[in-house]
Subunit: 378 residues, 2 copies
Amino acid sequence: MLRSATQTGSVVSVEFSDGSQARFHAIWLRDNALDPETRAPGNGQRLITIGDIPTDISVNAADIVNGDLLVTFQPENKTVTFPSGWLADHTYDRAVEQETGRVAPGITTWERGIAAPSGDWAEVHATPAAKRNWLADVAEYGFAKLTNGPTEPESLLKVAALFGYVRETNYGPYFEVRTEVNPTNLAYTGLGLQAHTDNPYRDPVPTLQILYCLENSAEGGESIVVDGFRAAERLRSDNPEGFALLAGYPARFEYVGSDGVCLRSRRPMIELSPDGEMVGIRFNNRSSAPFVDVPFDQMEAYYAAYRQLGDYIDDPAMGVAFKLEPGESFIVDNTRVLHARLGYSGSGTRWLQGCYADKDGLLSTLAAMDMAKLEAAE
Amino acid sequence: MLRSATQTGSVVSVEFSDGSQARFHAIWLRDNALDPETRAPGNGQRLITIGDIPTDISVNAADIVNGDLLVTFQPENKTVTFPSGWLADHTYDRAVEQETGRVAPGITTWERGIAAPSGDWAEVHATPAAKRNWLADVAEYGFAKLTNGPTEPESLLKVAALFGYVRETNYGPYFEVRTEVNPTNLAYTGLGLQAHTDNPYRDPVPTLQILYCLENSAEGGESIVVDGFRAAERLRSDNPEGFALLAGYPARFEYVGSDGVCLRSRRPMIELSPDGEMVGIRFNNRSSAPFVDVPFDQMEAYYAAYRQLGDYIDDPAMGVAFKLEPGESFIVDNTRVLHARLGYSGSGTRWLQGCYADKDGLLSTLAAMDMAKLEAAE
C-alpha cells in the first residue's frame, strides 16, 4: 500500500505504508506503464518503442487511489495506474553501494562439508515439489545429484527434458565418457582431470552439464565438484589485486583436437557483470591457450593470481567428492561449479554419458513453477 | 626467424629478423611449452596444471637454433623449443593502449548502402570456397543472405547443418513466423517490429538466428537488418558518457508470454569484454523489463542514451532492407545485428520459419576450413 505521492514534473516520490520511500522518474514510469496500449494484454510484451515516448515527457499529477499510484503523463495526457506491490518490487532508488565480486541474490557459495544436494529419480519425475526443489538446488548451489535412476543408455536425455533442452555440439547431442584408444580429448582416457569448467573454448559456453553413470566398477574415478564462485571469493579476499586481474583481462581458450573443429574464445577466467556481480568462471588447464591480452607489466601478477585460484580449486577443503553408482547422475552449472575426476584403472569399467544444456531453460522452469504456485495461493 | 635472444632469469627477450622485439616471461613460456610432456601430441591438450609448474620457475639459457628459440627452465632443467612463427603469433609485449568500445579484428561495421552479403544455396552446398566465403561474411558483417534455396518446410535446418547445430528452446527446434489468432509473441502477428536482437531475456542468448522464407505474397513484410555495433559506435562518438552508461549497467529483459515459461536476464545493452572490446548488443523494446540496476542519479542520462541508441537503430540511413522471396533466407549474428520487419497485410500470405544456432559452431567450421587450406598449401 502507498501512503502518499508527490511529483516535480520529472520525478514522482512515493511513501509506502511501512514508511519506506522511493523516487521514480517520469521517463522510467512512462516506459514501464502497464496499460493495454503500452503492454500487449495477452503476452505482456511492450507495444511501444523508446522513440514513441515524447522527448518532453513529464508528470503533472500523482495520486494515491486504493493504495496504488495514479500518474498522469504530459503531453500525452495519459493516466496510468501503478500497483503499489509492483512499485515496491521495482524500486531502483537505493543508496547502497554494490560490492565488486558479489554473488547474485539467491546464490549460496559452499566448500567441502555441505551435504550434496540430491534428488530421487522417481520423486523428481512424479512430484512437482521434488522437481522444484531439485531445480532450486541447482540454481542456489550450482550442482545437484540425481539418484536411483535407470541404467539404460541415453537416460541423461530424460534428465535434460525435466527442465529444458540439450545443447548439441561437435561432441554430439551427448557423448560417451570412457577410455578410448585414440582419444580426441583427455576426458576419454583413464587420466585424472583437474577440476575444470567444460568447453571454455566455446562462446557461449554450455551453461549446464549432465554426467550420467552407466557403469563404474573400475578402481578410482570419483567425481569431485568445486564451487568456482567460492574459490574466486577466497582470491578476492586474500589478493584483491589478483582478483581484479583475472576479472579485468580476457584469457584465451582453444580446442583443435578433432577434424573440422577449431574452437577459440577470448573471455576472462572470472567474469563480472559491468556493475561487478560475479556471473561466470572459466577454468580449464587442458584447453587454456596462450594468454596474449594481459599487458606485459601485469603478466607475472596475472599468473600469480591464476596459480592462487588454482590452489584454492585444488584445495581438498573445497571439493565435494562422490563416486557415482550406475543410475546416478549429477548436473553442474558450468558457469560456476567445476568438476574433477580422479584417475581410474584396474579390471572394471567406467562408462558415463555426458551432455550439455542451458540454464535459461532450467531457471525458466523453476520460475514458472514458483509463479504458478504463487498464483494458486492468491 | 629469430635473430637473437637474451634472458634475465624471469624474462626472455628476442629480436625477430624484421627487427621487431618482444619479451616473454619465464612462467608464460613454461605454461605454454609445446613439448609432448606438456601438451598431448594427439589432441594438443595441456597435460599439466598451473600448480605443476615450480613456483620458482626461471630460465637459465635462451638460444637461437635454426631461427627458433631454445629455452632451458630451472629447477626442472627442461629445454623446450619455441618456433619463431609461433612466438610471433603470440606476442603480448605491446605498448599500444586499447580503445574502449573497439570491435574485434576481422569485424567490419556497416550502414545502408553496402551490398548485402549473399550466398547461393547450390554453390554453398557444392563448393567449399563458396561455403567458406558465406561463413566468412557472417563472421565479418554479422549477417548474410542465402538465395535460390528450396521452398520445402524445414529447409532452414539444412542451413544450420552447413556449419553447426540448432539451439532448441521453448519455441521448439524451429518456429513458424506467421500470423496467429492468439499470438504468444508479437512476432506471430502482422505488426511491424522495430529492429531488435532476439531473446535478450535468455542467458545465454542464441548467438545466431536463421529466418527462412516459404511464402511472402502479402503486402509489406520487408526485412531490415541493422548493425548494432555501428549504432553503438555512433553513440560512443556522439555521446561517450551515454555509451559508458549503456555498457556500464545491466538492463533487464523478460518474457513470460507462454505457459510454463518465465525467462529473465540481467545483461547490458552494450556488452564489453573486461578490456573494452565490444562483444554484444541486446536491444528489444518488446521484452525490456524495468531497469532497476541503474542508480537513481544516472537514470535520466541512461534513458537519454537508450533513446539515442534507438534513434540510430531506427535511422533509415542505417538499415539494409530486402524482401525475402520463397526459398530465400538470412542468418544474423544475434549478438550484433538487429533485424526488423515492416508490417504486412492484404490478401497474400507471409510464412517464415526461424531457428536459433550458435556462433561457436560457425566460427569453428570457418576456422577449420581456413586451417585445412593453410596446411594443404604448406
